[in-house]
């Protein structure tokens, strides 16, 4: 008769899964604990009396931002330098990434058309992939530290560091993008006797061009941030300027440079959105 209790139709008053949630939260906290210990996570030290005083003095120095004409001129020059290092590095990175991606992608293999890739071609592709992995897993800062030893301080080491790391990243992702799309057109071209470069230019590139371009623009944004970071090891640009100002406790100058970072990211966002709209 009343086998189905009407109460069962009412929404439960409490979360029916609370026990499971509680358990998983506790488990996560237990896992997190050693990590917190290892990273010496004691945020209350920030609020310690001395630290607070130092921070307050430093932050108070931020206002007003340094606006002396010769300092602004220097900031403008270093900003251009940062952008130029990123752009030149990306250009060289393309020179590394495009050939490696073309050589290592499976879609452009002739022997793979028959079902299985020839052994020589397979191992060559694996070797190139390994090279890409090595290139991108060494952080650009480490490359820069190595190059600074060889060519001395200056933008050269920054440009080459970005070229190598970003060459590895772009090469890997280009290869993945080329392989992710529909391979039918390219395979047809190859089967009908077109060269591999032709198959790429008339089959793969039109299909994947927008995605490739949009990823490149995104990485260019990242390269600008990297080139700021490389300044900290002496590659020039905004990073070096910021490092100097921070060491001198010049709050006003630091504030100006941080504002420039903000503007730079805003401009890069706007530019990459516009580029994607045009290319996509």
């Amino acid at each position: 008769m009343s086998g189905v209790a009407p109460a069962g139709r009412l929404a439960p008053r409490h979360d029916p899964a609370w026990l499971g949630r509680l358990f998983w939260t506790a488990a996560a906290l237990a896992l997190l604990w050693p990590l917190l210990v290892a990273s010496e996570f004691r945020p209350w030290t920030l609020l310690g009396h001395e630290n607070l005083a130092v921070t307050a003095r430093f932050v108070r120095g931020f206002l007003p931002p340094a606006l002396a004409p010769d300092f602004l001129w220097r900031v403008a020059r270093e900003t251009w330098r940062t952008v130029a290092i990123a752009t030149a590095g990306m250009t060289l990175a393309l020179g590394v990434a495009v050939p490696l991606a073309l050589l290592s992608t499976r879609v452009l293999s002739l022997s793979a058309l028959g079902g299985r890739m020839a052994r020589g071609a397979f191992w060559m592709r694996q070797a190139l992939r390994a090279l890409l992995v090595v290139l991108r897993s060494v952080p650009e800062l480490v490359w820069a530290l190595v190059f600074v030893r060889v060519v001395g301080l200056g933008p050269t080491s920054g440009v080459f560091a970005i070229a190598l790391t970003y060459g590895g990243m772009l090469g890997k992702v280009y290869g993945e993008i080329l392989e992710s799309g529909d391979a039918h057109v390219t395979a047809t071209l190859l089967r009908n006797g077109s060269g591999r470069l032709q198959a790429f230019l008339f089959g793969l590139l039109p299909q994947n061009g927008a995605e490739l371009a949009s990823y490149t623009v995104y990485r260019w944004e990242c390269a600008i941030r990297s080139s700021v970071v490389l300044g900290f090891v002496g590659a020039g640009g905004l990073g070096q300027l910021l490092d100097g100002s921070m060491k001198m406790f010049e709050g006003g100058e630091v504030a100006t440079i941080l504002l420039v970072f903000f503007a730079l990211v805003a401009v890069a966002d706007w530019l990459s959105a516009a580029l994607r709209r045009v290319l996509g």
């Binding site: 010496e40 290092i85 250009t91 952080p139 700021v228 630091v254």
Partner: protein, 279 residues
């Protein structure tokens, strides 16, 4: 032939000349031209030392420099220190990413619309805040935070968290606004409040996506955490800067190998977790 002429249409469409390479009304042309100018100007103004870099002397220098890395120092006592530093780096990156995920959600909520008919609580201020957090690179954050947190991994963790909050917050805003509206609407029609709608309808739908964003950033952050120590924020980077400064190349090589291993480990872990999420 004649039939085609009579009907006024070619049997095959006639060949057209390709469009001119540059046209003043073509926006893409202007953008490509601008990019070429930017690239040329960059190389022009940087006065790169190609000669010095590509000369046989430089190649020899570099080979000798790389040769000094061998053999890597494998002394047990030193290995223990490298292991401790690796653990510290791993902890920094994981805690930083976790903090950033939490803060990212907290900041993304006021910046996003709950549903199409609603206005975001504080879209502009939150966007500005997220952009400001994102605009300052991790290493610059670390340099700034060293002043108030002192030397050590805490400054590095907070620096990673600050920058990553900006990045993740922006992604979270988009994810929240693009979530399928059905389940949330169903709850809202029943009179359920905003917080519970988010917790029981929107969040469960988004959780896999948010987690995969966070895991991607974790891969990024382990790389950043490995080098943050160069400014004194703990972990492997600090060890690297120290031994490289003293020209102890064998020890530097060990630290570099540890970095590579750690990065590979996190990549594999993150890949496995993301694959598990998609299933």
């Amino acid at each position: 032939m004649r039939a085609a002429r009579i009907s006024g249409r070619a049997a095959n469409p006639p060949y057209k000349l390709p469009p001119p390479l540059f046209d003043a009304r073509c926006r893409t042309c202007w953008i490509v031209l601008g990019l070429i100018v930017l690239v040329i100007a960059s190389f022009w103004t940087l006065d790169l030392q190609w000669a010095q870099f590509l000369s046989p002397g430089a190649a020899q220098d570099m080979l000798r420099f790389v040769g000094e890395f061998f053999p890597p120092d494998a002394h047990p006592a030193f290995l223990r220190r490298v292991l401790a530093a690796s653990w510290e780096t791993l902890a920094m990156s994981a805690v930083g990413t976790l903090l950033a995920s939490g803060a990212g959600i907290v900041l993304a909520l006021p910046a996003s619309r709950g549903h199409a008919g609603e206005r975001a609580l504080a879209r502009l201020p939150m966007r500005l805040l997220l952009n400001a957090l994102r605009a300052i690179p991790e290493l610059a954050w670390a340099g700034l935070l060293l002043i108030s947190a002192g030397l050590g991994p805490l400054a590095g963790t907070l620096a990673l968290a600050a920058h990553t909050t900006g990045v993740l917050g922006r992604l979270f805003v988009e994810a929240i606004e693009n979530a399928p509206p059905g389940p949330a609407a169903a709850l809202r029609i029943q009179g359920v409040g905003g917080a519970r709608v988010f917790l029981y309808a929107t969040l469960p739908q988004l959780l896999p996506q948010l987690t995969s964003y966070a895991l991607y950033r974790w891969e990024n952050n382990i790389r950043a955490a490995a080098v943050l120590g160069v400014v004194g924020a703990g972990g492997l980077g600090q060890l690297l800067a120290f031994h490289m400064g003293l020209f102890q190349m064998g020890k530097t090589a060990t630290v570099l190998l540890a970095m590579l291993a750690l990065v590979a480990l996190v990549d594999v872990a993150s890949y496995a977790l993301r694959a598990a999420l998609q299933r």
